[in-house]
Amino acid sequence: MDFDLSDEQRLLKDSVVRVVSDAYGAFEKRREHQAGPRGWSETLWTRYAELGLLGLPFAEDDGGFGGSAIETMIVMEAFGHGLVVEPYLATVVLGGGFVRLGGSAAQRARLIPRIADGSLRMAFAHVEPQARYHLADVATTARPDGDGHVIHGAKGVVLHGDSADLLVVSARTAGGRRDREGISLFLVDPAATEVTRRGYATQDGLRAAEIRFDGVRVGADACIGRLDGGLALIERVVDTALAAVAAEAVGAMEALQLTTVEYLKTRKQFGVPIGSFQALQHRAADMLVALEQARSMAIYAAMMADTTDAAERRTAVAAAKVQINESARMIGQAAVQLHGGIAMTQEYKVGHYFKRLTMIENFFGDTDTHLRAIAAAGGLGDAA
């Protein structure tokens, strides 16, 4: 058992923290990044590539740096702390995750170097308007067509789908709408004429898109993973993303916790710093408790995200999401309440952290969804 970072991990952490601090330390800079044509900073994206962040989780043989979920955790926590808007989750964790974990040798050779060098941005087009949080609910179809497939359907709220250069699209190749079998994954070029995208900003300052596929044709090399057997891969990649977002949430919660304590020390009412009021002190203490509980579960999720036993991984990540959600809700609401009016303004950063944390709560399943998953599995095992 060992909670220390290795020397390499510490170096990684230092460099990510530094770049985030440079690029996001003053909160106005975030607005500048958002104002770019893609809704995030291409300059920063290049910087992440130079630092090796974009190739981090991929095998060295594939052109990556061979990092584990721990390395992703380190990056995402720092990104959460700065409320970074670049599409790391969409490209490296989600899109890249499919290539890494399900891609053929040819697909990996073709795509990973381009992800790593920053030239390829990806997105995962999966959720459909009727599906809500049910991962197997896929109505989009892919009909065989020669050696390839033709895809019809619509996907919603595709994170960073508007600026992606390549999409991973789930589609039904067999079975009924919510069958576990019969889902396949395809690489789709969003520039194809049969693909329509409508991009928009999201409540938490990121970007997303509604995407329609009106008979776009993909070739034989477009399928990622086993035909009809895509769900297990989806679950694996989504769990990886949930672990990553857990770390992002911890970074954001830590920022809120620190900012709130600082505010309590400086803001005066009734002639004294409001941090001298015991009721507020206790709430701040509870924020710390919630943060540390969340941090523990983000570590747990990172450890378990690479586990081969799918059932064990699923339950562990679900547990992490439940704790992250509870802590995020508590810390977000408390940070706003303890700040008072100023936290309600667009100008001040606290509200933006609160909004991001609120949206993370519903990212790939709300608390109830994950609690049910744990309950259905008979509870948490004794994995540690």
Partner: protein, 399 residues
């Protein structure tokens, strides 16, 4: 002891219900229900329809437009208005400055201000809060110096709701810097067109322009615009803040949201059925409804008690209870709506200028998250819930 309304009260309720649903334009009510932006015209229109019926200022003295309504009738009016998603008569006019002028103003002020205030010919805003004085209102620093029949005002007000529409402001200003905190404060009426006033929007986290910062730079206000006695403004402010003891809980508003949540859940597909078929979802709704029912009855009890006693002007533990639970339930219901929207809570639509493009996802979902974000304010403003707990502990429990 009987919780039920009398036959007369039921008749009044039915009359009010029909009035609000039939007379207030459906488009305005839909905007309120969905948490969309209301224009100034929308608010003025609704206000004047109610005033024409005598229901904008029923609690005012009769000579200034008041009606002889019982406490229960006033409660019913308020409830039915909220449940029909009617924008309330402008509270700055009808619940705040109006009663203060009617009680503490001189005859000239009454004649000059009360009729246009009742009819929303004057739009008032409240100038109490300052950047440095949130929960600690008595710490305010905006100062007014008397010079040649005028007060000259310098300073800054913050969180001024709908100040961008205002014709006049009623403000607390410091007229005696030597006096102790609560003393030395006066209650002034300020024409917003006076030179030296700057209104700067504060955009809130839901993206709306609802509140403002207002700056005063050598603003000259005629001394005749002082209400009551100089340096006694704190008393009038306390009177004003204690005035609305029951409306604060907003039970009708939360009920309307629950009704909406139920209807929307029946339209949200989950698996083979809808979200409403999920027993856990229903249990969550039921748990909120239980607390809301309890709050409704608590409020009725307060109304019944108020019917027998005049407001004392002191902080009232009952109104603190209503404020705490009421704000918690407003937050619980807006959070529920946000969660019903699910993934489609995420897309951002600028709430102030809905474009002609079709919304992303279901139309109702567009406001779900912003309304949840915006509603975090209700446990902060009007005396934060922490302040309310202090009031209960000190004023009522004697701790």
């Amino acid at each position: 002891m009987d919780l039920r309304f009398t036959a007369e009260e039921i008749a009044f309720r039915d009359e009010a219900r029909a009035f609000f649903r039939e007379r207030i334009p459906a488009e305005i009510r839909r905007k309120v229900s969905e948490g969309r932006h209301l224009s100034k015209d929308d608010m003025v229109a609704a206000h004047r329809i109610m005033h024409a019926r005598g229901w904008a200022v029923p609690h005012w003295p009769k000579e200034w437009g008041g009606q002889d309504l019982s406490a229960v009738q006033r409660y019913i009016l308020n409830e039915e208005m909220q449940r029909a998603a009617v924008p309330p008569p402008l509270p700055f006019n009808v619940a705040m400055v109006g009663p203060v002028i009617a009680t503490f103003g001189n005859e000239a002020q009454k004649r000059r201000f009360l009729p246009p205030t009742a009819n929303l010919d004057i739009w008032w805003c409240q100038g109490f809060s300052e950047p440095g004085a949130g929960s600690d209102l008595a710490g305010l620093r905006t100062r007014a110096e008397r010079q040649d029949g005028h007060y000259v005002i310098n300073g800054q007000k913050a969180w001024t709701t709908l100040g961008q529409h205002a014709d006049w402001m009623f403000a607390l200003v410091r007229t005696d810097r030597e006096a102790k905190k609560q003393e030395g404060i006066s209650f002034l009426l300020i024409d917003m067109r006076t030179p030296g006033i700057t209104v700067r929007p504060t955009i809130t986290i839901d993206g709306t322009h609802e509140v403002n910062e207002i700056f005063f730079d050598d603003v000259k206000v005629p001394a005749e615009n002082l209400v009551g006695v100089e340096n006694r403004g704190w008393d009038y402010a306390k009177f004003l803040l204690a005035n609305e003891r029951t409306g604060i809980a907003r039970v009708g508003l939360s009920k309307e949201r629950i009704d909406r949540a139920k209807a929307l859940a029946q339209a949200v597909q989950v698996g083979d059925g809808t979200l409403w078929d999920d027993p856990d979802f229903r249990k969550r709704v039921a748990a909120i409804e239980v607390q809301l029912k309890a709050l409704e009855i608590t409020q009725l009890r307060v109304v019944a008690a108020a019917a027998r006693q005049k407001a004392s002007g002191k902080p009232d533990p009952a109104s603190s209870i209503l404020k705490i639970k009421g704000s918690e339930l407003q937050q619980a219901t807006t959070e529920l709506l946000k969660d019903i929207a699910g993934p489609y809570a995420l897309p951002l639509t600028d709430p102030d200028e809905l474009s002609n493009a079709p919304p992303v996802g279901p139309e109702w979902a567009a406001t779900a998250a912003p309304v949840y974000f915006n509603t975090r304010k209700v446990s902060i403003y009007g005396g934060s819930n922490e302040i309310q707990r202090n009031i209960i502990a000190k004023a009522f429990l004697g701790l």
